[in-house]
């Protein structure tokens, strides 16, 4: 009883998170243009999707930016957390404050400000500018997550490592990073999610040669979002899930025996 109830709660919340996605998948087979009711099974949206090369390209571009920006944001965000947690330097409090300020800046402000900046330094709008914008957007999420874990964390460990002759870089890589690993991973995942879903900032900082998925989806609102988007979402979701399950199977073959540790 004591062990089962908590897991039931986990399942319940997972159900809350996944039911809407199941609905998206089911309705990607719905034979109606505006899928609020069930009108029979069809595969036509998948057919339409595979003919829609620009849409697939946009999805691919989105993934590319999301992977790159999440990784870069994680590096920058961890460095920022390290600086704030560990070093004393001029303007540290201001830096800390700026990181909070980044979370509050309305997207529209960040988008317009970055566009003005990019135009003034005459950089071509596209992948690079999107990357910079998404890193900036996601970085504070990484930093704040790591700082929350570092709070009340035992400072002596790093000092001990330093005393034992580890360099600053090594103590960062071998002591600090492993200790904050869950926060770093969480930060990466949040950054990836933010990047995949951002509309307003991306709108301003991307150029005509680099279309991304969320922009395409939002600009369909006026004419009606077609269910081939549902089909695309369903495929992307299933692929991710398959990859995760495969990775899980391959990475921990002994899982069964270890569940209790």
């Amino acid at each position: 009883m004591k062990t089962r109830f908590p897991y039931a709660y986990l399942w319940l919340v997972y159900a809350f998170l996944y039911i809407p996605i199941l609905v998206v998948i089911i309705f990607s087979f719905n034979n109606a243009r505006f899928s609020t009711d069930w009108h029979g099974f069809t595969l036509k949206w998948y057919e339409l999707l595979f003919k829609n090369q620009p849409l697939i390209d946009a999805a691919y571009n989105s993934l590319k930016v999301a992977v790159c920006s999440a990784s870069l944001a994680t590096v920058m965000g961890s460095l920022a957390a390290l600086c704030i947690h560990r070093y004393k330097f001029a303007g540290k409090k201001i830096l800390h404050g700026c990181i909070y300020m980044l979370t509050i800046s309305p997207d529209i402000v960040m988008g317009i400000a970055l566009l003005i900046f990019f135009v003034s330094i005459n950089i071509e709008l596209g992948f690079t500018t999107l990357l910079i914008a998404h890193v900036t957007l996601a970085m504070p999420f990484v930093t704040l997550t790591i700082l929350a874990r570092l709070a009340a964390f035992n400072e002596n460990l790093i000092e001990a490592a330093r005393d034992l002759g580890a360099s600053e870089v090594k103590s960062f890589l071998y002591v600090l990073l492993p200790l904050t690993a869950p926060a770093v991973a969480a930060g990466w995942l949040l950054s990836f999610t933010l990047s995949l879903d951002d509309v307003l900032i991306s709108f301003f900082v991307t150029g005509p040669s680099f279309e991304i998925l969320p922009l395409k989806i939002y600009s369909m609102v006026r004419l009606g979002v077609k269910p081939d988007i549902n089909a695309l979402s369903a495929i992307m979701f299933s692929l991710t899930l398959i990859i995760v399950i495969l990775a899980q199977l391959l990475a921990s073959p002994k899982k069964k025996y270890r569940q209790k540790d």
């Binding site: 505006f34 992977v67 005509p208 989806i217």
Partner: protein, 360 residues
């Protein structure tokens, strides 16, 4: 163990990154042979021109079409303005933004001698007050904001004009657009004023109407209008005629009404930003879209009205008889274009709008 995970992650990311780019490369190669006459960068709503039409243009002319998207006129305007008109060869603003952007000098003139198919366009939609002689703008699609009703609950005779939204039986069943110009324009027509009025008293009258209507409204939305009607969350409200036609396919009891107090007409027209670099190709592209059979393809994909008279002849008799799609003078009585008004007037509208939207 950790290394294994990292390796796996790397392997998957390579597969992830590799696959679509190969696919893209293959399809790009197929078209590459034809793309040797430069390009044209089109900035428009997502999939507002069928892919088939774009491909056909590339095949015929060797000009690559780079198609980029925006989701509102407002954001398109901000971006073009911040870029000082550089980076895009064609944009497709609706009436009042076209007006504003022409006034602000953000567009170049078209060379009509390169647009031989312009003769196909409906003279009624040509030569508008905001662009005499169509020097800057070539109409692509047009439509209206009117009333959409569910005839299972609403008697058409009780929904003849925007004013009728105030009837008590619609309380809690109304949807309004959350676009300020469309919604406020509707209110101005309901109180018998012009949607472009700059008289503060008129604007106040429109506000009074919106304020009175607010308790009856269940949602302000543009992104899920069809869904709301189809699931009967709402039974009456503002809608575009194209949206109405699409929603009717799933719910035949829906009916679009051109209100007696006047629909709001918009025309999406192509225009060339001042910084456009591929001017020649932009002309070619616009001229291509003006061909009757090409305009027919565009019309069939999106249920809006075409300004191309020759295309009308190609449509089925059933379509031509559809008054929602092809309104006549009767339907468009009292109808009006939305025009730009100056910044000062915009502020007055905006202040009232923010109040009205919140029911104050």
């Amino acid at each position: 163990m950790k290394k294994k995970v990292v390796l796996l992650a790397l392997a998957f990311s390579f597969v992830f990154m590799g696959l679509p780019s190969t696919a893209g490369w293959l399809s790009a190669n197929a078209l590459a042979a034809e793309k040797n006459n430069g390009k044209v960068i089109v900035y428009n709503w997502s999939e507002y021109i069928p892919q088939e039409v774009l491909d056909e243009f590339t095949k015929e002319t060797g000009v690559e079409v780079v198609y980029s998207t925006y989701e509102t006129n407002d954001s398109m305007y901000a971006k073009i303005k911040l870029l000082r008109g550089k980076g895009y060869d064609l944009v497709c603003p609706s009436t009042y933004y076209l007006h504003l952007m022409i006034e602000e000098g953000l567009f170049k003139k078209f060379d009509h001698s390169k647009l031989s198919n312009i003769v196909n366009l409906d003279p009624q939609l040509m030569n508008p007050s905001y662009d005499p002689g169509n020097e800057y703008s070539i109409p692509y699609m047009w439509g209206s904001v009117g009333l959409l009703i569910n005839t299972a609950y609403v008697k058409p005779e009780n929904a003849r004009s925007f004013k009728d939204l105030l009837r008590p039986e619609y309380k809690g069943k109304i949807i309004l657009t959350d676009d300020m110009r469309d919604c406020y324009g509707m209110a101005m027509h309901a109180v018998g004023k012009s949607a472009n009025s700059t008289d503060p008293d008129d604007i106040k009258a429109g506000y009074e109407f919106l304020k009175a209507l607010h308790p009856s409204v269940v949602t302000f939305d543009v992104s899920a209008v069809k869904q709301a009607f189809i699931s009967e969350e709402v039974i009456i409200g503002t809608s575009w005629n194209g949206d109405a036609l699409v929603a009717q396919q799933e719910k035949p009891e829906l009916e679009f009404v051109y209100p007696e107090d006047g629909a709001l007409v918009w025309v999406d027209s192509f225009a060339m930003p001042v910084g456009a670099e591929n001017v020649e190709n932009a002309h070619k592209f616009v001229n291509f879209l003006l061909r009757p059979e090409i305009a027919k393809k565009c019309q069939e994909e999106y249920m809006y009205s075409t300004p191309n008279l020759k295309t009308l002849d190609l449509l089925s008799a059933e379509k031509r008889a559809n008054r929602t799609l092809v309104p006549t003078g009767d339907e468009l009585k009292n109808a009006e274009y939305l025009l730009n008004y100056g910044g000062k007037t915009l502020q007055i509208y905006k202040n009232y709008w923010e109040k009205a939207r919140s029911g104050l």
